[in-house]
C-alpha cells in the first residue's frame, strides 16, 4: 500500500514536473526558426555541358547564387512561361542580378542537345545558361535535386513525348547550399521580390 502510494506520488510529481517543464518550453523557448538552408540534402556535385560548350560543374559557380530551373525545350507552355518570368525577374533585380547565375537544366538530354538549347535560349535573357549532358549526368542531377521527372507515353507513338517534371525554381547560395524553391508559375516581379528577400536574409 505504502509502495503503491509512493509510486503514485512519484508519478504525479513526474507528471507535474513534465507539464511545468513543457509549459516552460512553450513560453520561454524561441520560436523554432524555420530554415531550409545548409542542411537539406538538395543539390550536390554535377558535371554538365553548358550552351557555350564549356564543361561545368557545381564548383564553376561558387561565389554566385544559383537559380536553377529544370525543363526541356519541347515543352510549349510551362517552360517558356518560367524562362520568361526568370528573364523579367533578372531585369527587375538590376545590378543585384550580377550576384546570381540563372541556369536552365534540361531533363530531356535525348532531344536537348547543346545546340538546340543554345538556339532556344536566344529568346530569353542572355544571362540564362543552358546545361545539358549525357543521360547519366542528367539522371544524377535529377537525383541530387530530388526532382520528379517522368516521361509520358506518347499517345500516338513517335518522338513527341512530354515530360512531367517538378515545377520549381531552385535557389542555391554562393556556397552551393540549397536555400529555397520558388514556384515556377510565379510572375517575374514576384520572383524578383523573393530573390531580393532571400539574398538580403543571407547577408544578415
Amino acid at each position: 500500500m505504502i509502495v503503491k502510494l509512493g509510486t503514485a506520488i512519484v508519478v504525479l510529481l513526474a507528471l507535474a514536473a513534465s507539464i511545468t517543464f513543457s509549459t516552460y518550453l512553450m513560453i520561454h523557448l524561441p520560436e523554432p526558426k524555420i530554415t531550409t538552408s545548409g542542411t537539406a540534402a538538395i543539390g550536390g556535385p554535377f558535371t554538365l555541358v553548358a550552351t557555350n560548350n564549356e564543361t561545368v560543374s557545381d564548383q564553376t559557380y561558387r561565389g554566385k547564387w544559383l537559380l536553377i530551373y529544370f525543363g526541356y525545350t519541347y515543352c510549349p507552355d510551362a517552360c517558356p512561361t518560367a524562362l520568361n518570368s526568370i528573364s523579367v525577374a533578372l531585369e527587375k533585380l538590376g545590378s543585384q542580378a550580377n550576384d546570381l547565375q540563372p541556369l536552365f537544366v534540361t531533363v530531356d538530354p535525348d532531344r536537348d542537345t547543346r545546340e538546340a538549347m543554345a538556339k532556344y535560349l536566344t529568346s530569353f535573357d542572355s544571362r540564362i545558361i543552358g546545361l545539358t549532358g549525357t543521360k547519366e549526368q542528367i539522371d544524377s542531377v535529377i537525383k541530387e535535386y530530388r526532382l520528379y521527372v517522368s516521361r509520358e507515353k506518347p499517345e500516338h507513338g513517335g518522338d513527341d513525348y512530354l515530360i512531367s517534371h517538378s515545377s520549381y525554381i531552385y535557389l542555391m547560395d554562393p556556397q552551393g547550399r540549397f536555400v529555397n524553391v520558388i514556384h515556377a508559375e510565379e510572375i517575374g516581379d514576384e520572383i524578383a521580390i523573393r530573390l531580393r528577400k532571400e539574398m538580403a536574409d543571407a547577408g544578415r
Binding site: T73, D77, P80, S85, Y148, S150, S164, S167
Partner: protein
C-alpha cells in the same frame, strides 16, 4: 470606360481581322471563339502553344473535337495539372462546352499544343487555326502571335492596322 473601349476594340478586332467570321453569326452558330492568340516560339522549337476562349451561347452542349493549322503537323489539347509540385500535361481528346458556358485555354491551365511546327511562330504574325466542333462544325480563326512566353492576348502589333485599344 477603359473596359468599354477594350470591348469595342475586341469586337473590332474580331470583325476587322476577318477571323472567326462564322462565330459572328450567332443565329446560325451558337459557338463563338474569342481572342485566339499564340506565343512566338524560340528558335528551333518543335512545339508551340495557342490559346483562345470558346463561348457557347446556345442551348445544347457542344464539343471541341480537334484543331488544325497549316503551320504544324498536328494540334493537341493539353491540360496542365499540378500535384505536389509536379506539373503534368495530359492530352484532352475533346473539350466539352456546356450551354451558356465558356472554356478558356490559357497558360498554366489548358493549351493547344502544336506539334511538328513547320516554321517558327514569329511575334506580330498570325497563325490560322481551324477548330472542329461536334455540332457547330468547323470554325476558322486567326490567332495573333504574341511574345515568347507571353501570358495573355494583347499584342498590339498583331492587330490589324488602324485599331487601337485606347487608353
Amino acid at each position: 470606360m477603359r473596359r468599354a473601349s477594350y470591348l469595342v476594340a475586341v469586337v473590332l478586332l474580331v470583325f476587322g481581322s476577318g477571323s472567326a467570321t462564322q462565330a459572328q453569326t450567332p443565329a446560325v452558330n451558337s459557338i463563338v471563339v474569342e481572342q485566339p492568340w499564340a506565343r512566338a516560339t524560340p528558335p528551333g522549337a518543335k512545339t508551340g502553344a495557342a490559346y483562345l476562349t470558346v463561348v457557347n451561347n446556345g442551348t445544347t452542349a457542344d464539343r471541341l473535337l480537334g484543331a488544325t493549322t497549316p503551320l504544324a503537323d498536328k494540334v493537341e489539347f493539353h491540360r496542365e495539372t499540378e500535384e505536389n509540385g509536379v506539373s503534368r500535361m495530359r492530352e484532352v481528346p475533346a473539350v466539352e462546352v456546356k450551354p451558356g458556358a465558356k472554356v478558356t485555354f490559357k497558360p498554366g491551365e489548358m493549351h493547344m499544343m502544336m506539334v511538328g511546327l513547320k516554321q517558327p511562330l514569329k511575334e506580330g504574325q498570325n497563325l490560322p487555326l481551324t477548330l472542329q466542333f461536334e455540332k457547330a462544325g468547323s470554325i476558322a480563326v486567326t490567332a495573333a502571335i504574341g511574345k515568347v512566353g507571353a501570358m495573355k492576348h494583347g499584342n498590339m502589333r498583331a492587330m490589324p492596322p488602324g485599331y487601337s485599344m485606347g487608353k
